[in-house]
Symmetry: D3
């Protein structure tokens, strides 16, 4: 089984971190391929950046289809481009916020989210609602550490994130914590030990859940909302994303001359 | 007052239609400028197309900021890129789904939506939830007419849309109808006469409501979720969307060498 | 266009204040007429007073219909008699709580309400729910200043209301504030400057939104819930509110010998 | 124990019917007093009529306080004036929609409502929401029989209402039915036999539940939302409803020269 | 009328307390029979104990059917086995959490719950949701006093529970309090006096409400979800709970050789 | 990894079916052990039977703890005893309704449930709500086939269930179907082929998801709601379920002389 884990930002060091974490939880026989888009922002901390991360994600899904990927993980907590990716992909696509929240509610009654910047909390709430977890979400907290500083040498990030997780457990009455950034993937086990409740990282959660969906033979329906997009003119800078009429019969891949993919 | 009405697709004929309708409801002294992005899909009927419409929308908002626009209307019923646009804009930004639903609930208890293709209904439900109108929405119906055929010569589109609106009123118990596509903007009054309840078109609704918000002096808060995105590297094809560090002090406009805007 | 702004209480000074504020936001060509009912309470701070304000409001709507009003604003934050007024009126009727909440959610994700007395908070929550904004409402706060003391000479009301607005922004995480009393209409701009997020006054919001609805040609459906009430005997003290059978064909106005209206 | 059952309309025959039904379920020692307001509409089938029924209801509560009533039932399915009545009353006040819905959910999982005119369904939905029964309410159906024709000699009302109840059970999957009008109080047992699920009439439900609340010693808190309204000027036609400053210390009754109450 | 009040735990002293409280609110002619199951836990403070209390409850309902009980009260705040009991019983069955929440919302807008151990709060929230009172519930608080210590000689339980009730009123803005344990039934009136809002005990609430339902002739439908369970093999330790085929025609009682009931 | 799949009823043939299906999806290195309780009903089609299935489930979890099970699947669509099992177990416990709904929402926007008897639909709705999927659930349908007839030789069950699934897709607009009974586990793939959308069986879904949770190191928190139940007297027939004081330090297993477990 081939699972393509897409880092929606263009920072290679994060792709490496994400790939390492995802591989730890893959079953024997599952290959995890962590990739970086050729275009888009260095990190995602605003709606603007999230929107501009989506073309790069779609490029990576299209390439994954050509490579025979069985499932995809979108490794940014805003779950950018999730629905669009589901239209392109033959197999399941999971966002890490989606996966982490599902996993958290299977082991606890109420979870809190600890995320990076306060300005992303609106999006977190929106995703909580979309996935059905409004009642299960006890709180959303921002530790105000930018994504790319989480792993900076000498960073106090781990201590601060741990403090926020503890606050969430005590103040919100949560019995699980969801980490709100792919860049926190490697902190998960240590924080769980420190705060005494399950702490969920979306990268690993999405990887194992995607693997489960493939094993179950589940994939989005081929008709309806997640059908392959119809062939249609795509103008200007985004012309490479045009889906040629010929492509549709043969599958969801964009047109003849695809973008150069710069995978990991 | 300058209101920039952005047609999120790249079909000029629709920009023209949208502009004509919007101008009808503008107050004396309000200038409506209808514009077409330089990039993106010819019409929007999938999540993929909606995602790829967003860069063009952001390009138009950035240009609008340079031109002194007071408010923006995003004239596609999926309200694509709304949050990202709010980060870039100084003034209010309204989606036409958002505006139409608000207007409908101010004159009736429950509205139904009549939209184009069935595959867009998931997005319509998502927006209904986001804006708080789950209880007010009596139903969503698709008439399965593609966006670009709504105005085709000899099209039976108006008759079919009218039938669906009548169905909504009778079957759902709705006392208002929301038209789910910018391309239906010119049908609004005639359908309302035919079905006997208020029928709301989002383009005109958003134009007048945006005008109201400007008059009221309301605009998104400058700090928090809708603050200007931070300066950050933007790679590859999307490099023109990089926000230079220098730009931020002076306002939300992207960097020094902006994309060429091909406004109407 | 004639917009009739009804002050639901019988205090003329408040009618004057409301009228002044409403006129500031009216478009060229829109006439704002602020009126005071001939009957009812001096201010509205309880359910009892709100209920007894409704006959006076209906009297003013009936008079407005005779005068050709195009729309109505009910300028009390409890939105008293809104549904009944919609039955009488040919054009749109907006409550100021309704309008303010709609406007707030068009510029921010979550708003808090700052109102007068704590005993009115139950009604505020009820209206939040009715209009669909339960998830958008971050909090309701009472500053415990009676309505008629808001504008008393030497009052510290503005400072106190501003403090509560700041509290709402910081404590609730709101990115917009709704002022919960028509008597606060003139404080709006200064408080917004002080707290750094959009602050919405319902009187001005309702006036511009009503104007928008008229421009859009939207009005409650003539059949169904908001149809003209049927002719029926009305006994005792309230006999003047009887709707004569003859009146119904010709419109929604109550019977032949109407109450004397003491408009501003 | 004295329970005052207020018929919110001014039709004596309905007061008599309501009183007869209520007395059947009263415990030994409970006196049921059915009363008719001196003012207001002959029946209530619109928001306008409901609003104009409230002064008469408040008149009857004020009189009940002078007479030592222990609890009140408001016998119109729109529960008009409920909150205002709670402010005036020392003991509990129950609306019949409120009571019927509570009772229905104690014996079944989901109930449907069968009411009179379609135009009242919006209010029914609003009450369902207010009392928390949105998920428990399987449907609302209108049989389009005016209130005052329910008991007309030779009326087919019972057969029609029974048919609608059967429809609700089969079509909605309801396992209880709530009758949506005080005028249906005497049909309850026969319809229940016919349709095979519990059928709830609000008049009898409210009478027994009010009796239970009195037995339990429960009454609205004396401070907060349901505190006695403050003394305040009441102008014009409604001047008799002014609450004198002197009255407040001694209780919630309106001022010295009360309206003449024309009780049953 | 015979109301069987079942103490779901096997501690006789609590059965006695519950019976005493229930009898105080029974109407003349109503017999209250408080019973203790022959099997199960000494008190209920976990999901495990609640689950293992259910067989004993069902034993008591089966015995009640043989004894001609008209209604049942399940006197544990988790409302254990409520749906199963409704299948066995001919008349209404009320849980004390259910009854207390219904009663609280009939006298106040929002209630808080004060319960025993923190680990039971998840169940309390679940019941709040099930009965429709998510919006009406202002908070749930645990005073961390084990059930069987509530009435221990020299216990400070009453003072602590009172403090938590006061906290709920002030901190949550509740205007009613629900006591979250049958063992608090005798504290109700004194705490209400102390905190100034209605305080509801579920045992007395359920007893009077069950009496009301019997008076109203309401009982779960005989078909559908609450029909008598079908005859079916029951193996091993639980064989005595097998419902014999013969029993079903004649009523809901389990098979020929019933468990010995050790009622009070 | 050892996953214990508990068939909550006492019919061995169903245990065998469930075990076979679960093993198909287990990863290399995962051992699936399907077990049958020593006590309880032959099948579960009522609340009564579900309640009486719980002791046998808890017996099997206790035995699993002694055997070193890493996770548990409760293979009845009512998810009986889920919370109690979580208190006993060290590792994750998943119900098949829970798992199936989570899986369905990861591949589609809205799912419908096709279950056995209509009388179980109330429980299905309750679980939908508990897990947060009220908005995602498009409908619940009962095909009125008893559990033990699903696999009867010559049964038309598969054809009937397939018809109901098709109805759900077309009538509800669902883009995924959840099968509402463990006894349907082997029909899943064929029905999915027939109806063209993903069809989810809970047994396989729960097995793979439980495996994922173990891989992720997630398990319920050891303190709080899901802590081991306290030692406490358990009387009468259920005395074997008493948790001895000594047991608690050493783990969650019930007391010294455990029930005889009759595992597969």
């Amino acid at each position: 089984m081939l699972i393509r884990v897409i880092n929606p930002n263009t920072t290679r060091a994060m792709t490496d971190l994400i790939g390492r974490c995802a591989r730890v939880v893959a079953a024997p026989g599952t290959v995890v391929e962590a990739v970086t888009p050729s275009m888009g922002p260095a990190s995602i901390e605003s709606h603007y950046e999230e929107a501009l991360a989506v073309p790069g994600i779609l490029e990576q899904v299209a390439q994954g289809e050509r490579d025979g990927a069985d499932a995809y993980v979108l490794a940014c907590f805003g779950d950018p481009g999730l629905d669009a990716a589901r239209e392109l992909a033959t197999g399941p696509v999971l966002g890490i916020a989606e996966a982490a929240m599902h996993a958290a509610t299977m082991v606890g009654r109420r979870f809190s989210i600890v995320t990076t910047l306060g300005r992303t909390m609106g999006r977190a709430h929106e995703l909580v609602d979309r996935y059905g977890f409004r009642d299960a979400c006890a709180g959303v907290h921002a530790c105000e550490i930018p994504v790319l500083e989480l792993d900076a040498p000498g960073s106090r990030a781990e201590a601060i994130v741990t403090d926020y997780c503890r606050l969430a457990v005590e103040g919100d009455g949560a019995d699980a914590v969801v980490l709100g950034c792919a860049g926190m993937a490697d902190l998960c086990a240590r924080i769980s030990d420190a705060v005494g409740v399950p702490v969920v990282d979306g990268v690993t959660a999405a990887t194992t859940l995607a693997q489960s969906l493939v094993t179950l033979g589940l994939r989005p329906a081929v008709a309806g909302e997640y059908a392959t997009p119809p062939p249609k003119a795509m103008r200007g800078l985004l012309a490479p994303f045009e889906i040629a009429a010929a492509a549709v019969g043969g599958g969801p891949s964009p047109a003849a001359a695809p973008l150069v993919v710069t995978a990991d």
